[in-house]
C-alpha cells in the first residue's frame, strides 16, 4: 500500500483545455511541469490552439504533451503545422483508431512514420486509442505494435483500450495483460474512459490504479464531470486531492480534515470548516489542517495535524504540531482567528 512514496506525476494526464486556470496553475507552479497533458487538435482552429499551447508550455515549463488527432488522416494533414514543437517537446502523437482494422493501422503508421522522417521529427512517442469488444482484439493490437518496426522507430508506444460501459473492467484487464507479460518494455498501457466520469468514479479509478503496483507504469487520465462548472469544481485541484488522499508524499497543498458534526458539537463546524477550506485550498505548501467539533476525536486528530482547531465547552483550543498553543474562551470570530494562525504558521514554516 502507498504510504510515503512519491507519485510519478508524469503518469497522470489532463486535457489542458479543460483544466487550465491561471490562478490554479500559478498556485501550484512547482508541480505543473511534471504532469502530462493532452491537447486535441483539429484543422479548424489549429493556429489558436497551437498558439495557446506554446504560451502555456513556455510559461509553465511543461514537458509532456500528447497531441491528439481524431484520425490518421487528420494527423497526416496537420503534421506540417506542428513543426514548431520539434525542438521544444519530445513529440507525442495520439491517434484515435476506432475505425481502423489492425492491418489498416499498420499501413497508416508506416505512412505516418515516413512523413515524420521527411519532416525530421525524432524521438516520437505514439499512442493508439482503440475500442474493443473482446480481449483478443486488444491482444492482437499489442502483438502488432510489438513488432520490430515499432520498437525500433518510436521512443514509446502507448495503447489505450476502451471497453464498453464499465470503466473498472479495464483495470482488471490491464492487470491481466501486464502480469502475463504480454507487453514489451517500450509499450505502455493508458487508462482513460471515453467520457467524463463523476468525481466518485474518478477517485475509485485512480485508487484502483495507484494501489496496484502491477499497474505502476500505466498512465491515467483524469476527466471529471461536474454538475456545474464553477470555481469550486476544477479537475486539476480535485485530482491533486485524490493523490493527496492516496498518501503520496510529494503532493503540494493542504490535507484538510474536519468532523461531520453531531450533538456533541460545540462550534459551528460546517460553517467554519467550509470557510477555512475555501480560504486555504490554493496554498501550495503541504500542511495538514484539522477543524474538529468536540473533545471526543478533536484533540486526537488535531494532535496529528500540523495545525488544528477543536471545539470545547467554552470555546476552542488550537493545536500546533501536537501541542496546545492557545485556549479560546469564546466562539466569536473563531474562523478569522484560526485562519490568521494558519497564515502565521505557514510564514514561520517557510522561513
Amino acid at each position: 500500500m502507498q504510504t510515503n512514496k512519491p507519485c510519478n506525476f508524469s503518469t497522470v494526464e489532463f486535457d489542458i483545455n479543460n483544466i487550465y486556470n491561471e490562478k490554479i496553475f500559478n498556485s501550484f507552479y512547482s508541480v505543473i511541469p511534471f504532469f502530462t497533458y493532452q491537447l486535441k487538435l483539429n484543422s479548424i482552429n489549429i493556429h489558436s490552439q497551437l498558439k495557446f499551447l506554446l504560451k502555456i508550455i513556455i510559461k509553465y515549463k511543461i514537458k509532456n504533451i500528447w497531441l491528439n488527432f481524431s484520425s490518421f488522416k487528420e494527423c497526416l494533414k496537420l503534421l506540417p503545422k506542428i513543426k514548431i514543437f520539434k525542438n521544444i517537446l519530445n513529440l507525442k502523437l495520439a491517434i484515435n483508431c476506432q475505425e481502423y482494422s489492425n492491418i489498416q493501422i499498420q499501413k497508416y503508421i508506416l505512412r505516418l512514420y515516413t512523413k515524420l522522417q521527411k519532416l525530421r521529427f525524432n524521438n516520437l512517442s505514439l499512442r493508439l486509442y482503440k475500442n474493443i469488444s473482446n480481449y483478443n482484439e486488444a491482444i492482437n493490437l499489442i502483438k502488432n505494435t510489438s513488432k520490430k518496426f515499432f520498437i525500433k522507430n518510436f521512443y514509446k508506444i502507448s495503447l489505450c483500450f476502451f471497453l464498453n460501459n464499465n470503466p473498472f473492467n479495464i483495470i482488471n484487464f490491464y492487470h491481466l495483460i501486464i502480469s502475463k507479460n504480454y507487453l514489451l518494455p517500450k509499450i505502455n498501457l493508458h487508462i482513460e474512459y471515453k467520457t467524463k466520469l463523476s468525481l466518485i468514479e474518478n477517485s475509485i479509478l485512480f485508487s484502483l490504479k495507484f494501489l496496484n503496483l502491477i499497474l505502476d507504469k500505466c498512465s491515467i487520465m483524469s476527466k471529471i464531470k461536474y454538475e456545474n462548472e464553477d470555481n469550486f469544481n476544477n479537475t486539476f485541484l480535485d485530482t491533486l486531492e485524490i493523490l493527496r488522499s492516496l498518501e503520496f508524499n510529494n503532493i503540494p497543498g493542504v490535507y484538510f480534515i474536519s468532523c461531520p458534526t453531531c450533538a456533541r458539537c460545540k462550534i459551528n463546524v460546517i460553517k467554519i470548516a467550509n470557510n477555512i477550506y475555501n480560504k486555504i485550498k490554493l496554498i501550495n505548501y503541504p500542511i495538514k489542517v484539522a477543524v474538529m467539533g468536540c473533545e471526543v476525536n478533536g484533540p486526537g486528530e488535531a494532535i496529528h495535524a500540523d495545525i488544528g482547531l477543536a471545539g470545547t465547552k467554552f470555546g476552542a483550543i488550537i493545536f500546533q504540531k501536537g501541542k496546545v498553543t492557545e485556549k479560546l474562551n469564546t466562539t466569536e470570530k473563531l474562523e478569522d482567528i484560526f485562519y490568521e494562525r494558519i497564515l502565521n504558521f505557514l510564514n514561520a514554516s517557510q522561513t
Binding site: I242, E247, P260
Partner: protein
Amino acid sequence: MQVKRKLTRKVKVGNLIIGNGNPIIIQSMCINDPKNYNLVIDEIKRLEEAGCQIIRIGIPDESSAKNISKIKNAINIPLVADIHFDYKLALIAIDEGVDKLRLNPGNIKNKDHISKIVEAAKKRNIPIRIGVNSGSVPKELLQKNNNIITPNILVEAALYEIKLLEEQNFYDIVISLKSSSPIITINAYRLISQICNYPLHLGVTEAGILKTGQIRSSIGIGILLFEGIGDTIRVSLTDDPINEIIVAKQILNTIYQPTSL
C-alpha cells in the same frame, strides 16, 4: 466486475439485518442534539426520505438520552445511540428503546462498566458497534506504538473490546475502524476481516467538507467494497447529512453497476 462479498455473521438492527451478504445498508448521523427532539425528528424524517436506512444520534448527556423514546416513536428506521465517556448513558439509551449502541473503546474502558452495558444489551437483544476511531485510540495502545496511528493498533483496540464482549457470551457485534486516512482505513478493515467475521461498518472519519469527503470516502469505502469487505457504510461529511446519503448511494451504484464484459 462481479464483487464477491465476504460472508459475515448476521446482526439484527431493528427490522434490518447487517451482514451475511445482505444488501449494504446506508447510515448517517444527526447533527442536532436530542435535547431538541423535534429538530432531530425532522432531521431524521428528511434523511429517511433521502434513503437513510439506519440513523445514529449523539448522546452527550442524560437529558439527551431521555428523549430517545420520543424520537424512536416518531421515526421509521432503526436508531443508534452514540455513547462516549459515560456508561450510564448507554443504560438509559437501552431503557429508552434504542435499537443499537455505538461504543468507543477509546473512552469507555472500565471493564465493570462495559459489563453492565453488555448485560443490559443482552436482555433487550440490542447489538453493539465497537467503533474505533483514529482520533480516540486508547492512550495505552497509542503510546505503545510511539503515538503513530497504524492499522494494527486500530485492529488491536477493537479485538480487545470484542474479547470483553465475547467473555459475556455477547456476539451481536458490528465493528468499525475509522481513520482520517483512507489508506490506513483500508488496511485496518482488510486486516480485521481476516481475523473475525463480525459485520463491518465502513467509513473514513473526519473526511472533511463535501469535496474532500466525497473523494476520501470513495477511496476508503469504494476499494473495500470492491474487495467484498463491508456490510454497512457511513459517509462522513462536514455538510448537510443529506449529502452523506447521496454520496453513499453514488458509491454503491459505482461499485455495483452492471458489467458488460
